[in-house]
Symmetry: C2
C-alpha cells in the first residue's frame, strides 16, 4: 500500500499476525450461509481521539481504492451483540469495549451485485454474499493508544483516519459513518465521556477540547464548565497544572463510582 495522507497507525496483512480463524475464501463465498445468518451483517464505526482529532478505523479492500468500515456476519447461534464484540476485537485487539448499537440499515439496494465489484473476485452469481444484506450498525469510542489495527482477510490494510478526511467508502458505508457520528454526538447529552480518553488528571480546557473535537464545534468556556460541574461526576483536586503560558488551571479527576453510574443510568441533562 502506498502511504496515504490522512492515515496513521496503518497495519497491513503483511505486518501483523491475526489470531482470527480465517475461512477459506472459496468456502466462504459458496457456503457462508451455512455458517452465518443470511441477509444480515454488522458494521462498526470504531472511533478514537488522537492529537486533538476524532479518528475512525477503516479497512482498505485488496487491490482497490475503496475503503470500508470493519464488519462481519452473525453465526447461526451467536447473539448479535456477541458478534459485534467479536468483530471489533478482531480488528482492534481490544477485549473490553463499550459498543453502542445505533441503527439498522435496510435499503434493498444494499447488495454487492449492484456495484461494479472490483473489490470482489469472480464469485458465482448465486452466492449468498451477492444477495441483499440488512446491516446492524454499532459504534465504539476506544482508547486510541491501546488499539492494534488488524486487517481482515478481504482487506490489505486497516488504518486510523481523521473523520474530516474520509476516502471513498463502499456501498452506503459513508451514510453509516455519518449516522454513527450523529449518534455519538447525541449520546453526549445522555452519557458521560472521557474516562479512557483523557489522562487520569486533566484540566477543564482539556476536557472542553475533547467535547469540541467530538462535536466538531467551539463551546462557550463558562457554560461548559458550569454544565460539567453540574453533572456531579468530577472531583476538583488541590493541584494546578504548571508550566503553561496562562494562569495555572486546576486539575480534575473523574469520580469513578459516579461516572460509571452515569454511564449506566444516563446523565438526565434534559427534561427527562
Amino acid at each position: 500500500m502506498t502511504p496515504c495522507a490522512g492515515f496513521d497507525i496503518v497495519a497491513t496483512l503483511a505486518t501483523v499476525a491475526t489470531k482470527e480463524k480465517q475461512l477459506d475464501p472459496d468456502d466462504f463465498y459458496e457456503n457462508g450461509h451455512r455458517y452465518f445468518l443470511p441477509h444480515l451483517s454488522i458494521d462498526c464505526a470504531v472511533f478514537g481521539f488522537h492529537e486533538g482529532e476524532l479518528k475512525v478505523l477503516l479497512l482498505q479492500w485488496r487491490d482497490s481504492d475503496e475503503w470500508c468500515l470493519p464488519g462481519g456476519f452473525i453465526h447461526h447461534q451467536e447473539p448479535v451483540e456477541a458478534a459485534a464484540v467479536r468483530i471489533v476485537r478482531e480488528r482492534t485487539g481490544l477485549e473490553n469495549i463499550f459498543l453502542t448499537q445505533f441503527y439498522t440499515f435496510g435499503d434493498p439496494s444494499r447488495q454487492r451485485k449492484n456495484k461494479k465489484s472490483r473489490y470482489l473476485p469472480a464469485i458465482k452469481s448465486d452466492s449468498w454474499i451477492l444477495q441483499r444484506f440488512v446491516t446492524i450498525g454499532y459504534w465504539a469510542l476506544v482508547e486510541y493508544s491501546r488499539v492494534t489495527p488488524v486487517p481482515d482477510q478481504f482487506s490489505s490494510s486497516c488504518a486510523w483516519t481523521a473523520v474530516d478526511r474520509i476516502p471513498p467508502l463502499i456501498l452506503d458505508h459513508r451514510e453509516i459513518l455519518d449516522k454513527a457520528m450523529q449518534s455519538l454526538r447525541l449520546s453526549l447529552n445522555d452519557y458521560p465521556v472521557g474516562m479512557d480518553l483523557l489522562p487520569d488528571k486533566f484540566t477543564m480546557p482539556e476536557l472542553q477540547k475533547l467535547y469540541e473535537t467530538l462535536l466538531d464545534r467551539k463551546l462557550d468556556r463558562r457554560n461548559f464548565q458550569k454544565r460539567m460541574l453540574a453533572l456531579d461526576i468530577l472531583q476538583r483536586l488541590n493541584e494546578k497544572k504548571e508550566g503553561g503560558a496562562h494562569k495555572a488551571p486546576f486539575l480534575y479527576r473523574f469520580d469513578k463510582r459516579k461516572y460509571l453510574r452515569a454511564r449506566k443510568q444516563g446523565l438526565r441533562l434534559g427534561i427527562s
Copy 2:
C-alpha cells in the same frame, strides 16, 4: 373475547373489515421465506396518550391468553422502513406516522420453537417461522382518537392498554416494549412532543401533564415552564383558559414552523 380490565377501544376480527391482503396460513407457514426475508422481523410499539394515561396497542393471539406487539416481515425487495410503516398502517389505519427505529433484538433464543406454542397451530418443524428471528424495533406516538385498531390474521383482537397494566406478552415482547418506552423517554431530551397529542390551544399545566405521563413521574412546575419556554417553540396567546377552580392560566400554541424544525434537527437541550 371476554372484556378485560385495562383495555379500551378493542377491535375484534369479527367487528372490523381489514384491507390487508391476507396470505393463506398454510402457504405462509410453508412458503413465507419466498415472500419475506428469512430470520428478520419487525415489531412496533404504537403509543397513544388518552385520558391522562400512556397506552400501547397490543394484539391477542387467537385462542390464547398471550398478547404481542404488532409486527410483521420484510418483503424481499422492500425497504425496512417501508415495511415498518406498512405494518403500523395495517394495524392502525394511520397514513402519516413518525416512526422511530430504536433497537434491533438479536438473541438466538428468539425462536418460536423454544416456546410451548399454544399460539401457533401444528406447523412442520422445518417451517421458516420456527427458526431464529432477529427483530427490528420501532416505536410511534400517534393521535389516539385517529386510530382504528385492526387485528392481523393471527390474532383475535387488537386493543389499547395502559402501559402500567400490560398482560403477559409472547417471547421477549415485554423487553422490547420496555426498551421502546426508555427510547421514547430519552427522545424527550432531543425532540419536541405534543403537536398531535394536545388540542390546538393548551395550558402549561396540560403540557406538563403530557410530559409527566410520558415520563411516569412528577416534574417541578417552575423548572418545567422555564425549560419549555427556553425551547422557543411555543407562542403564548393573549387568552386565558377560563372556568377552572384556580387562577385562569394562559393559553399556548406551538409555533408550527419552529416545532417542525426542532422535530427534524433536534432540540439541542444538553451539551451537544
